[in-house]
C-alpha cells in the first residue's frame, strides 16, 4: 500500500472546519469515490474536525490519498494536544440522542468509516485516524 499524495491543514477555528470539509471532498472526488461515499467521509471528517477545534484546543489534520493495488482510499489523521479523552470506550458508545457532550462525533464517524482508530489519554492529547476506501 502506498501513499500517493497528502496535505496537512490547521484546525483552529470553525472556518477551518469548513475548509477541511472542502479539502476532504476534493480528495474524495479525486480518488473516484461515489457521491454517497464522498458524503460519508466528509461528514465523518466534519465530526472529528469539530471535536478537535471545540474540545481538543485546536490541532492538525493530515489528509492522505492511498493506493492498495487497484483500490484507492482516503485516510485522515486528526491530532491535537488537548486534554485527552478519559474513557474512550464510553466516548465511542454515546449516541446522538443523549444531547451535548464530549466525543459524540466519534461513534458516528466510526460508523461512517471503513477503518477507524483512536489513541488518547488525559494530558496527552488525542489522535484519531479514519479511512474510507473506494
Amino acid at each position: 500500500m502506498l501513499i500517493e499524495t497528502g496535505e496537512t491543514m490547521p484546525l483552529r477555528t470553525s472556518d477551518d472546519v469548513v475548509r477541511v470539509r472542502q479539502a476532504v471532498r476534493l480528495r474524495a472526488v479525486g480518488a473516484g469515490f461515489s457521491l454517497v461515499d464522498q458524503t460519508k467521509i466528509v461528514t465523518a471528517a466534519s465530526e472529528i474536525a469539530r471535536n478537535t477545534v471545540d474540545y481538543g484546543g485546536g490541532g492538525v489534520l493530515r489528509i492522505e490519498v492511498l493506493r492498495d493495488g487497484r483500490r484507492q482510499g482516503v485516510r485522515l489523521t486528526f491530532t491535537d494536544q488537548g486534554p485527552g479523552i478519559p474513557d474512550i470506550a464510553l466516548a465511542l458508545k454515546d449516541g446522538y440522542t443523549s444531547g451535548g457532550g464530549l466525543g459524540l462525533g466519534l461513534s458516528g464517524a466510526k460508523r461512517l468509516s471503513n477503518e477507524f482508530a483512536i489513541t488518547s489519554a488525559p494530558g496527552h492529547g488525542t489522535t484519531v485516524t479514519l479511512a474510507r476506501w473506494k
Binding site: 470553525s14 472556518d15 472546519v17 469548513v18 470539509r21 472542502q22 471532498r25 457521491l35 454517497v36 464522498q38 458524503t39 460519508k40 466528509v42 461528514t43 466534519s46 465530526e47 469539530r50 449516541g95 446522538y96 440522542t97 451535548g100 459524540l104 462525533g105 461513534s107 458516528g108 460508523r111 461512517l112
Partner: protein, 129 residues
C-alpha cells in the same frame, strides 16, 4: 444578524440554507429565527436544505433545536429538500431528527404546515365547543 435571509410567506417563515455554514453562522440563524417567529407571529418554519451537501451532527442538533424552540412558540417546523446522499449518511451516522418533520420540497412543506395548522385549529375549535 445572520447572513442567511429569512423570508415570510403568509404566516410561514422560509429559510434557505445555501452555504456551508460555520458554527457561528448556525448559532446566529437559530437566534434570528426565534426572534422572527415571535415578531411575525409565524405558525410555520420551513428550512430548505436542498443546497446542503453535508449534514453533520452539529447541523442536526441545530435543526432539532430550531424545531424545539418553534414548538414552544406554537410554530411547526418542516425541513425540506434533503438530498439522498445526506439522508443515507444520516441514517448511517445514527442521527435522529427528533421533532423535525420533513417534506420533499417547499410546496409539499407548505402543504404539510397548512394541514397541521388546520387540523390543530379544528381540534381546538372542537374542544372549545
Amino acid at each position: 444578524m445572520s447572513e442567511i435571509p429569512i423570508l415570510k410567506i403568509g404566516d410561514c417563515l422560509l429559510v434557505s440554507i445555501q452555504v456551508d455554514m460555520h458554527d457561528r453562522l448556525a448559532m446566529a440563524l437559530q437566534d434570528d429565527l426565534t426572534q422572527r417567529i415571535v415578531a411575525d407571529r409565524a405558525r410555520g418554519v420551513m428550512i430548505d436544505i436542498s443546497a446542503l451537501e453535508i449534514v453533520d451532527s452539529f447541523i442536526g442538533r441545530m435543526l432539532n433545536n430550531i424545531a424545539a424552540m418553534s414548538r414552544v412558540l406554537d410554530a411547526v417546523t418542516v425541513v425540506v429538500g434533503m438530498r439522498p446522499a445526506v439522508a443515507i449518511t444520516l441514517v448511517e451516522l445514527g442521527l435522529a431528527l427528533t421533532g423535525v418533520r420533513t417534506a420533499l420540497n417547499v410546496d409539499k412543506g407548505l402543504a404539510m404546515i397548512r394541514s397541521i395548522i388546520d387540523n390543530a385549529e379544528r381540534a381546538d375549535a372542537h374542544r372549545d365547543r
